[in-house]
Subunit: 234 residues, 2 copies
DNA sequence: ACAAAAGTGTTGAAAATACACCCATGT
DNA sequence: ACATGGGTGTATTTTCAACACTTTTGT
């Protein structure tokens, strides 16, 4: 039989490649999502994720960071690729695939003026408006991945400021998983992991007594990982 | 201040979009990967994953299935998107991003002639040759995801024939995680999940006594999932 | 003095681990 | 009869889950 070079090596068609950002924040005990009112046709005026085409000379993850910077003013944000959406008819205009990436930002940090200017709005996760195209699917998938990952990696910490209190951390996990946790068991479990460093300061913004602040200890976390341990909160 | 529509809505450049397939198999107690000797320049003769450009009128996941079919002759294979590789210089020739997908196939099924014809070869996971471009990274990432997923979802079963024995299943998990498991504890745990249906047949290919065959029970598994259970083996 | 959130221990149940021998069968 | 892999039970340790009161401090 003759050896035919398969067709697949030859078909070379180009497509539009975009990235969309699912931006999670945490504020007042609520898990939130940053959404945008589209300023341009088509679908002008509808809520959507923020996205951009990826430039020819730009890494995809860099494109995500660029978008995030343009919107929030933030650099150095935790961002992770979620999934690529590539149904041939997902965008009615032209063939465009989208690499969705999700970001976790601590909501005390972003630039509010910038967000207002871009007609963006923080929505509670339980109360999202309808979104264009496959953006609702993206959000569902991102939530699922966030929940999976927050169980075994400390990415939940990315949603908090550098220094945070245990009640804040607990409330974050409660918001992510939509459950109520017992504070005694929660503290026991978290502290037993030895990945939190207790500081000598207190945060008094949430109570008169004040709660001790902690920092996440990446060194200890990495040691823990290497020894094959699984990080399970909640 | 004037509201400027951000640049990002306007840059529209097209790129090549490819998909690469990480094909896992399980055979003789070893976890294996199907690799290909490249038939075309550039990098002709080097080992690589098998891939293809995605066609303009083709969903990305469909492209993956097409590639898999061309190589193994198999339809209806478990396949899952891994990650999109989009560094701007990942391919030296032109800007090309690749959506990596991984497949799990039960090694008794594929078409050997087809594989020979395509100059493909099954490599043990512990003994892989060097690969082109970022394909080694893809394989590492796929392994990590396989290990993560096999812990909480029954995807390990995809690597076995429809009917399999408990010693086979145990050996599969041992191959995935590179550990030795205690057969009593393993059986206890797996059977306690109630997702296996014991058949009245035995497989005598591995021992004189023969081992009972089991089938995976998707109904019970789905019930289990809905009740929020986490599937943890090993 | 009181309201409001922070912090703290114990007990019982359940799950995970460690561990060694008999069984069935083909040769 | 023996070699080979299949199959089984129990005791110990560890982890998880349930549960309520005292402390601190600003008003």
């Amino acid at each position: 039989m003759t050896q035919k070079i398969p067709d697949l090596y030859q078909v070379k068609e180009k497509m539009y490649v975009a990235t969309d950002c699912i931006i999670f924040g945490f504020d007042s005990g609520k898990l939130k999502l940053l959404l945008f009112k589209r300023l341009v046709e088509p679908l002008k005026g509808r809520w959507s994720l923020i996205g951009s085409f990826v430039r020819l000379d730009e890494d995809i993850d860099v494109a995500g960071k660029r978008v995030l910077k343009e919107i929030t003013g933030l650099d150095n944000v935790f961002m992770q690729q979620l999934k690529t959406y590539g149904k041939k008819d997902r965008d009615p205009g032209y063939r465009c695939i989208s690499v969705a990436q999700y970001a976790l930002i601590s909501s005390d940090e972003h630039d509010e003026d910038l967000i207002n200017e871009k007609k963006a709005h923080w929505f509670e996760i339980k109360d999202l408006p309808g979104l264009i195209l496959d953006h609702e699917q993206m959000v569902q998938d991102a939530l699922e991945q966030l929940r999976n990952n927050a169980r075994y990696k400390p990415i939940g910490f990315e949603l908090l400021p550098e220094k945070f209190t245990l009640p804040q951390l607990q409330s974050l996990y409660e918001a992510i998983y939509q459950v109520k946790l017992d504070s005694r068991n929660f503290r026991k479990k978290v502290l037993s992991l030895n990945v939190l460093e207790k500081l000598d300061e207190k945060d008094k913004s949430a109570s008169k007594r004040g709660a001790f602040l902690y920092k996440f200890d990446y060194n200890n976390y990495n040691k823990l990982r290497e020894s094959g341990y699984h990080f399970v909160i909640a």
